[in-house]
Symmetry: C2
């Protein structure tokens, strides 16, 4: 896929069009000669603990971010969880700004291309262009909201609703926008880790949604049949 000039489209849902000031935004970063990098399926774009050199915008493909947490424990297995999936036009590495080190691993779920934006260049750019600064802040804020929504889901929803919400969210974030034919790039285990469920539970809930007629299911191929049924339950 060639890097499209998405000058009109905002980078994320909920991001406002920029102020009428100088119109240079992250979305327009195509205009800036940032290099790109290709990451093969299963390879890490970066790992937790590495010094933060750049932020990355997904050009094509898909990543998962995996947090490894020594837990409150010392010897036993550390907690680990998929904290997010990231598709085209989404930005990776934001969680590392605070410590100047990456807080999680970013692993490609398929062969993917990212645009590399060095933080040493990004921050001065944002000081120069108000719209760019505003958009970076907006992107980070959106990431806070995203993480909080995840926490809310993990804290309040039963398994069935979590899986349903995951499918809806996934379909809405696709470039096509609200497609009904999905091809999941991640395993049941990944989904389960993300949703705070076991992979067997994810599988069972998908099967149940299929029996109820809300979705069509064939391995990683999912067809959303009844959106309302997924949403209202």
């Amino acid at each position: 896929m060639e890097p499209s000039i998405d000058s009109g489209a905002s980078l994320r849902r909920g991001v406002r069009e920029s102020a009428p000031t100088l119109n240079v935004r992250l979305s327009d970063a195509d205009a800036i000669p940032f290099p790109t990098r290709t990451v093969e399926r299963g390879d890490a774009l970066y790992c937790a603990g590495e010094p933060l050199r750049s932020l990355y915008t997904v050009q094509s493909g898909c990543f998962k971010t995996v947090a490894t947490y020594p837990s409150t424990d010392d010897d036993s297995a550390p907690h680990t969880q998929v904290t997010g999936f990231h598709f085209a036009n989404e930005t990776l590495g934001l969680d590392g700004v605070c410590t100047s080190r990456h807080e999680s691993d970013a692993v490609a779920l398929e062969t993917s291309v990212v645009r590399i934006m060095p933080v040493g260049i990004l921050e001065p750019l944002c000081r120069e262009y108000a719209a760019m600064q505003h958009e970076l802040l907006a992107i980070m804020s959106a990431e806070i909201v995203r993480a909080s929504r995840l926490a809310l889901m993990l804290g309040t929803m039963p398994a069935r609703e979590r899986v349903a919400a995951f499918l809806l969210d996934f379909s809405e974030r696709l470039e096509a926008g609200a497609a009904s034919e999905l091809l999941l790039p991640m395993t049941r285990a990944d989904i389960g880790s993300y949703l705070g469920l076991e992979l067997e539970t994810v599988s069972r809930m998908l099967s149940k949604l299929q029996r109820e007629g809300a979705i069509g299911l064939n391995g990683r191929q999912v067809r959303i049949v009844d959106r309302a049924m997924l949403a209202h339950h």
Copy 2:
């Protein structure tokens, strides 16, 4: 409490000292004549949906932020959850930057004082001072990490560990720093909502931790007796 000049202390754990550039940071915002506001216990500093006018730094007291989420449902009760507690020197309102509207309610758990930083002033200031911009980005990044950690906890830990982790986190975030005598400003229901548990479960786990000798317990007074026992389990 008078607004202390915490010029040396960083605003949050994990935030690096600023670069050797012009030394104007959010931490030094005392130097800027931002107004303050007092919020009585139980009152809202802001509510979800309101337009974002300012960010707020807690001077004294404590807040909870509550997310109300229409859920995937229409008629039944909406999901609601405490997404965070915020003590002195912590910043409120960051989740609203992306939509220019607050995403949650902020309610004072006790009579509290905040410093009001209008976003219309803050963004230009950050463009002028690199260190200030960097610190704002760092604070937002730290909030992403915080929310992700919460999600990780909700996704992986059993009830006992959640409560133990909550107590440790609380004690570390106190101004005194790692105090062992805590006075919880929030109810069991608040804690439960935050941890994705029922209030009865929180109460049971606290009692259990007391029986095991990890803490002393008397209503909202908690004394941390054995830190290792809380951490390593």
